[in-house]
């Protein structure tokens, strides 16, 4: 007998510690590589010494000049940390959306986050070009506000369209809202033609950062959103069997969906606000983990955080090394990975 929604596989906890170690190794190795690669040649030894020097209680002379040390700590390390936070957040949100919509092709931009953030960013670029007087750059704030408003509009539209709280309605509402917001964004761009280049660059995603401001901006959201999602992961497993089945064991699927989407959107909006629209991370990473380790969100959610971080750090490394000193927009690199990945998934699904 075929179930409408197959019961997800449940793994034992014995796999836990091994996977944890694996994740830590992946993140550490990719972070180290990320920090070592750049236009200015910094020897491996001095970078490691410099990193060790920062550990409280350890005092090592790394031999790096002040400028090189500044390049390391103000340019490279914040960039790697930002890539890790954004990648981990997007992957975790992707996993959450996949759980909530019971579809492995769901991604965090589904409900209008991308379109909303794009519109917010375009408004900021078009109407607030002179940002020197501002204590905080308005661009990430506008993008964040746009993203959140986009999802809120989708939810209101989805709820008012039909009495049933089905996922299909929500997704369709998301499509409509995204289309509207994108059209508005295009119109504004046309009216302010000198913004095209900047908006386009923002949309393709960029992780270049100076200093720790953007990391500080995104960190609280990643922490809050991450904690919330991790707390909900077992409920996502339960919801995986279907709304009615979940209701029958006392899980209020509508409420859970709202909470998970809210938490995931908060984190995604923060990620998008600082780094633009980086696609495919939210789909590839959780799905790859699912293919390797089974469909339990108890595992997929936390692992997505780690592997998502490693993935984006490596993608960013490629983006800034291949055509140095020019940087390929990181959205292009993730798309290059994403398209073949989709083909792989589709071919496997057909065979099953």
């Amino acid at each position: 007998m075929e179930l409408a929604h197959p019961i997800p596989e449940v793994r034992t906890t014995r796999a836990g510690p091994t996977l944890l170690v694996l994740v830590l190794i992946a993140v550490t190795v990719s972070a180290l590589l990320g920090v070592l690669v750049g236009a200015v040649e910094l020897s491996v030894g001095s970078v490691l010494a410099e990193l060790a020097d920062r550990v409280p209680g350890v005092d090592v002379d790394s031999g790096l000049s002040q400028r090189e040390s500044a390049i390391l700590w103000e340019i490279r390390v914040p960039r790697v940390v930002l890539a890790g936070l954004v990648g981990g957040m997007l992957a975790m949100s992707g996993a959450a959306f996949q759980g909530v919509f019971r579809n492995p092709l769901a991604d965090p931009y589904l409900l209008g986050v991308a379109a909303g953030a794009g519109l917010g960013a375009t408004l900021a670029i078009a109407y607030l070009p002179d940002q020197t007087g501002w204590p905080v750059s308005p661009l990430p704030l506008a993008a964040f506000a746009g993203a959140v408003l986009g999802v809120a509009t989708t939810y209101v539209l989805g709820r008012s369209a039909t009495r049933s709280r089905s996922t299909a309605t929500l997704i369709l509402a998301g499509v409509a809202v995204a289309a509207f917001l994108t059209a508005t964004q295009t119109f504004i761009q046309q009216q302010n033609s000198d913004t095209f280049r900047e908006v386009y660059a923002w949309i393709l995603g960029a992780l270049g950062t100076v200093g720790w401001q953007e990391v500080a901006l995104i960190l609280p959201y990643v922490v809050i959103s991450g904690l919330a999602l991790v707390l909900y992961r077992r409920l996502l497993d339960v919801m995986g069997v279907g709304d009615e089945e979940a209701e029958s064991v006392g899980v209020r699927s509508g409420r859970v969906r709202l909470a998970v989407v809210a938490a995931a959107t908060l984190g995604t909006a923060a990620a998008v606000a600082v780094s633009g629209l980086i696609g495919f991370v939210g789909i590839i990473v959780p799905h790859a983990i699912r293919l390797a380790l089974g469909s339990s969100y108890r595992l997929i959610l936390p692992l997505s955080l780690g592997f998502g971080a490693a993935f984006l750090i490596l993608a960013d490394l490629i983006a800034r090394s291949v055509l140095a000193p020019a940087e390929i927009p990181i959205g292009v690199i993730t798309a290059f990975f994403g398209a073949p990945f989709f083909l792989l998934v589709l071919s496997r699904a057909r065979r099953m």
Binding site: V40, S43, A324, E327
Partner: protein, 313 residues
């Protein structure tokens, strides 16, 4: 890709116990010290006050106009790297550095003690500040006075004040001469300045519009709707209706336009400028920079005006 493989192999070497012992480049201390000459100096620019303790020995220019200015004031040998579009003068050390997508590490790799930029993109000014590299932001000049000020600033920063003053005197003299050589007219000649094939143009409030004004020319775009932006887009109808006396093409290098391509545009063959052979092909670069070659630009414009005088061939 090579760099990644290099780093990976270095990592492997380190793991095997041997250490990479190459001494890296030292910090940007200038080996020679300046001979007095007013250093340290502080100048004001778009990024605030810029202070140099001593004369710069290694300048990186990410702006083609700044490159031209530096060479013109005799500071050319101090420029160790210029951006990809710094194609003038011939000896400029063009690299693949980008002024539009500046990469702070790539710039820092040249170990500069002064960086000149004309756009603050990718947060380059604060990035260079974070790694302690002095940077001066000289944005596109709004008028000739701005351009002169920038030349003066660069003269002060490089210790070449005398050459800068001399250059400015020459420029002022030549510009004066050119603009007074244009005879007054009861009805000023009109012109259309084309930025690209989709008919984007400039108003007379722009830098280049003001230069045209020195030649006594009137811009047809000033009356157009949508001229509240400095770079409006005109329609073919509007241009044909305005029938400018002169057409200047600033899209010859980028977009392959010329007097011939303009003449075959539908409806354009009736324009006075086309039939009177008054379509002037400019050098894109000269028409978009605000450095010493603005004199060359004015020369081309004034020459075109003279050709339209009754009695000249």
């Amino acid at each position: 890709m090579r760099r990644i493989l290099l780093i990976l192999s270095l990592l492997a070497l380190a793991a095997c116990g041997s250490t990479e012992g190459d001494a890296d480049t030292t910090a940007g201390d200038a080996v020679t010290t300046t001979v007095g000459d007013g250093f340290p100096v502080t100048v004001g620019a778009a990024n605030g006050d810029v202070t140099l303790e001593q004369a710069p020995q290694r300048i990186v220019s990410l702006a083609p106009t700044a490159t031209e200015m530096l060479f013109a004031i005799g500071a050319g040998e101090l420029v160790v790297a210029a951006d990809e579009y710094s194609n003038y003068p011939e000896g400029a050390p063009t690299t693949d550095l980008s002024g539009f997508e500046p990469n702070v590490e790539a710039v820092a790799d040249y170990d500069p003690d002064l960086v000149v930029v004309s756009d603050d993109l990718n947060d380059i000014v604060s990035a260079l500040g974070a790694v302690d590299i002095p940077v001066i932001h000289l944005p596109a000049a709004a008028d000739l006075g701005d351009a002169y000020t920038q030349i003066e600033l660069l003269g002060t920063l490089t210790g070449n004040q005398d050459e800068a003053t001399g250059l400015l005197a020459t420029m002022r003299g030549e510009i004066d001469e050119l603009s007074t050589s244009v005879p007054d007219r009861a009805e000023p000649l009109t012109y259309y300045h084309e930025l690209d094939s989709s008919l984007f143009t400039v108003t007379s409030a722009t830098f280049i519009g003001q230069i045209y004004g020195l030649a006594g020319l009137q811009n047809i775009a000033d009356q157009a709707e949508g001229a509240d932006t400095l770079y409006p887009q005109l329609s073919a109808e509007y241009i044909i209706e305005s029938d400018p006396d002169l057409v200047f093409l600033a899209d010859t290098k980028c977009c392959g336009e010329s007097a011939d391509t303009v003449a075959v545009r539908p409806g354009w063959d009736q324009l006075t400028a086309v039939t009177g052979h008054a379509v002037v092909a400019l050098d894109d670069d000269i028409a978009s920079r605000w450095g010493p070659r603005v004199v060359d630009f004015l020369e081309v414009v004034v020459e075109a005006v003279h050709r339209l005088e009754p009695g000249s061939s």
